[in-house]
């Protein structure tokens, strides 16, 4: 008998094929599937809570530069029609909102559909621009994509909210935090302006992850700037907790691409080395996953 060098026992023993029909096969399939489910859920949560925040941050940065230069050139919108008489596009920056006590500074975009609120707080298009006379309603996400309005329900009456719009700066003072059943304050008159911030909240365990009930924060200003053009009515996707099903075709396309990617990876694995295949497939998979999640966000309530 020849000397045998002892090798440390590896956890992985010599591989053996799985026999079809054996319980191992079931376990293998089920565990694979569950791992995929885990990845999907994990990715979604990651995107909603972390990556979405980064995306919103970046959007805000770009919007801020855009709005800044629009203010400088005096082409910032003063209503739903811009200076050339064309409608202001959803997603265009319309105001700058600062809440000093919460250390929040956000650019408000036009529109409150779920995809508009991915970039930051949005102006309800049937109301005037924040800072103008009359009622202005701004929605903001409570827990996902940066959650700019996560703590506005903690504002106290008298807290300051500063708004900078195309016509000037206006300082609002919070008057109340309104929930279901509370009285709606009287409409503003004359040069008064009222700003209503809308988001969702919950109570109990994991409240931060469960934005369920819509909550309103009202703030008034004595002397607001002019008044602007508004849209007559907004579609249902732009109401509180509205959802937008218009993106389903895109979602279907993206999911199809994802399936194609999986298929492609499977085929490629037979012919090429694993590392090579995954180094190409991973970025594609991540990109598709990101896009899919963004499309899925359109199907979810806008104040989440």
């Amino acid at each position: 008998m020849t000397a045998v060098i002892e090798r440390p026992v590896r956890l992985r023993a010599a591989a053996r094929e799985i026999a079809p029909g054996s319980p191992d096969e079931t376990l293998s399939i089920v565990s694979s599937a569950l791992i995929v489910v885990f990845l999907v859920c994990g990715w979604m949560l990651l995107q909603l809570l972390v990556l979405g925040g980064a995306a919103e941050s970046r959007s805000q940065h770009l919007l801020f530069s855009e709005y800044r230069s629009e203010l400088a050139q005096a082409t910032a919108p003063t209503g739903q029609l811009d200076y050339e008489g064309d409608p202001v596009k959803p997603g265009a920056p319309v105001a700058l909102l600062t809440i000093p006590s919460l250390d929040t500074e956000q650019v408000v975009v036009n529109g409150t559909a779920p995809e508009d609120l991915l970039a930051g707080p949005g102006l309800m298009r049937s109301t005037v621009i924040p800072g103008q006379q009359g009622i202005s309603v701004v929605f903001g996400r409570a827990s996902t994509y940066g959650a700019p309005f996560r703590s506005i329900a903690t504002l106290e009456p008298g807290d300051e909210i500063d708004v900078q719009n195309a016509e000037g700066s206006v300082v609002y003072r919070v008057t109340d935090v309104r929930r279901a059943g509370d009285d709606i304050p009287a409409a503003p008159t004359g040069t008064e302006g009222r700003l209503t911030l809308v988001t969702a909240e919950s109570a109990g365990h994991l409240a931060a992850l469960r934005p369920r009930d819509v909550v309103y924060v009202d703030a008034t200003a004595e002397k607001a700037t002019g008044t602007g053009v508004v849209v007559a009515a907004v579609p249902s996707s732009e109401l509180p907790m509205g959802r937008d099903t218009s993106g389903l075709p895109t979602l279907a396309l993206l999911l199809g691409l994802l399936v194609a990617l999986v298929f492609g990876v499977g085929v490629a694995r037979r012919h090429f080395r694993g590392v090579l295949v995954w180094s190409f497939a991973t970025p594609a998979a991540l990109a598709l996953a990101w896009e899919v999640t963004e499309q899925v966000m359109r199907l979810l309530p806008n104040l989440m």
């Binding site: 005096a74 739903q80 298009r125 049937s126 709606i184 602007g228 009515a233 979810l300």
Partner: protein, 852 residues
Amino acid sequence: MTPRGLRALTSALAALGLLLIALSFVPGSARADDSTSTGNAWTASETLTRTFGNGTADDVRTFEVTADRHTNLQDHERINLTWSGAHPTQGRVANPFGENGLGQEYPVLIMECRGVDPQDGSAVPDGAEQVSPETCWTNTWIQRSAQASPGRGVWQQDADATDAEKGHVSGIDPSDIPSSCAVNDSLDYHITPFLAADGTLYPGCSSQSMPPEAATGSVSIPNEIAAFTDAQGNGTASFEVRTDVENESLGCSATVACTLVVIPIDGINCAAGNDDEQCNSTGVLSASGQSGTPAPSVAPGYWWSPSNWSRRISIPLAFAEPPSVCSLSTTAGTPVPFYGSELMSQAALQWTPAYCLNPDRFNWQDNVMADDAAFELMSNGQAAAALVSGARDGENVGYAPTAVTGWAIAFDIDKPNNAGQQMSLKLDARLLAKLLTESYPGTILGKARPGLQNNPFSLNLDPEFQKLNPGLDKTHFGDVQATLLSLSTSSDVISQISSYIATDPAAMAFVNGKPDPWGMKVNPAYRGMTLPVSTWPLLDTWVNDKTGNPCIDQNHSAYMPLLASPVSSFRLIATDMLYNWPNVTTGCSGNGANDTPYQLARVQPLGVGNRFMLGVVTLADARRYGLTVASLEASPGHYVAPTDASMAAAVKLGKQVSPQQPFTISEADIHKSPTAYPGTMIVYTAAKTKGLDAEDVKHVTQFIKVSSTEGQQPGRGNGQLPAGYVPITPTGATAALYKSDQVVMKAIARQSGTPLPPSGGDPGDGGGSPGGGTPGGTGSTTPPDTPLPPADATPSGGATPTQTATDVPVVKTAAVTSATGGGLMVVLLVVGIAAGLVGVGGRIVLMTRGVK
């Protein structure tokens, strides 16, 4: 491409490039562009036959004359006539107008007469008169009446004269002759009376029996011309028409038909066998010589004699509605005045009747006022709109481009040696600076001023001027040649002229004290002055009381401003240029007695033939009055005349700082362009886009709409754009202006304010627009009537902000909840963790079992 092919292509392109560069150096024509749109010209020709009685063969010529316009005439408008085939003029006068033109032989006499003259034999229509010598205007009686020894009058020897015309006194009923005419039996007379429009018969045989408008030595130069024909038989003349506003006795107007009568003086026809020397004379003056006493048979003074009168050519004249048609109209509403730039005056003349005579339009009234004052009036709400040429401080004002026109330097200059009028001139910014800064002393009285000793006396003696304009008079000088007649009040035109000077490095160096290459220095009072300015100041206060001119010595006023003597409106400058009457006030009147004290007076008008005078005029006035204007230097070496093309090139350089604001044409940019005319200006209708009341909003938007469409059609009819303006069209160089008109019109209709122009401060810290927005206390808060375009909802007009997100007005906050929102992420979390645990666990189990 092969190397050879590449080389060939490169050399071809290089050659093309060089050719284009070479072409850019070809100097353009300096004549002002004549309007090509006529359809209005009148041409006529006839055969001139002169018969002699002494056996000389008949003199036969074909005379043809063309007038460039004869309809829609305004008062003082110039008709340009050209003719060929006339007898060359002998003995040229310097001043061919009125009685001054009598000293020539064979001129072409052009006169304005009342009535119609259907030379084709048709009848005179009802209400109109037949043209006759009695309805033709002459400024003096000596042009219409003559006297001679009995039987020796050349009119009595006219072969075509009737027996009555050969009598002792012809042409008038002897009972109408006044005593002032001193008619006696020792002479024979022919008297041509003047029949005024109101029916009064003025005998016209002495200065007392002439109509009141006839005045010798008056400022208003007579408009009848005895024009010069050159040796080839060709000639040109510019005839100024007058309406009943100027000459009530002649009485031409839009309702009274008048005729331009052109009589080529060709000589009295002598009857066969009449060899009288006086009748058959062909003239005693030399063709190239000076004027003198002409031979009567070929003198213009006998235009009424049948031979000459039968050779007349009649050009019918039709006048446009007078400016007063609107004030006399009973159907037009209350006038709505717009105030502002004088550049609009000529356009207003043609536009106002299109408003006041149209019942659907408001009664627009244009009032001339300094741009700053007009803008103030508009800002205060006292005027609906202001017509200005530049941006001004003021929020919520929109500027709609209404007219593209400008200013020019008009000149009345004659070539030396009676060679005619100079038709082109070149000027640069430094010459304008020298003129405006009173740097030419004019006379030795001015040279006494410290600082002007080394300066040339006047513009024509300046080597810089002579280099640009060779061939002009180099010997005469005076105070008239040393100045530019300009405006004394505030105007955007002066701002632009001074900025034209300010952006020219050579001109500014001169103003700052640097001598020009020939040693001329700026007037010390103006050295270092800041430019641009909107009112040109008269800074020289040097008094000269040792001039020897008692009026100046006793006046003790500053001397140089007497030369500058600016006037208060461009119309005055244009009429001064028309009459060649400088505004220099170094003349003297009075003789020191108590009732006629020494007083500074305006100098006399310049005699035609040796004129040298410059003035700043508007382009529209220059085209109306037929003034010659100078080409100004744009980029170094390029002298640009005001034509449609050069003004369009300047408009293209205009930059708009933000919507609804004016397009600023920077003179610095013009100094870099070889084709842009520096005097181009755009006149805007400035009106408030917030706080304007509803009536005014309607008027202003209607005005902008009409003036940007109908008002930009070139033409001479009501509502059309006169010459001197470049039309604003939706395509071409002025497309941006047209678009801006639409934007401003919408903004004024909406009354929702104008975006503030950027200030240049740092907006990054949230400071934003300058001054912040004014909380619009008086702002209109009514939403517009135009349907609003929401993303996918149907517009329902008249938007009102909703109370809550739902459409049902509630008093209590409604409950809005979302189960998905409340549950999704938790579910994801739970499911994810569970799946992860189970999945990973399963994998681990498999691995331990040794399964791959």
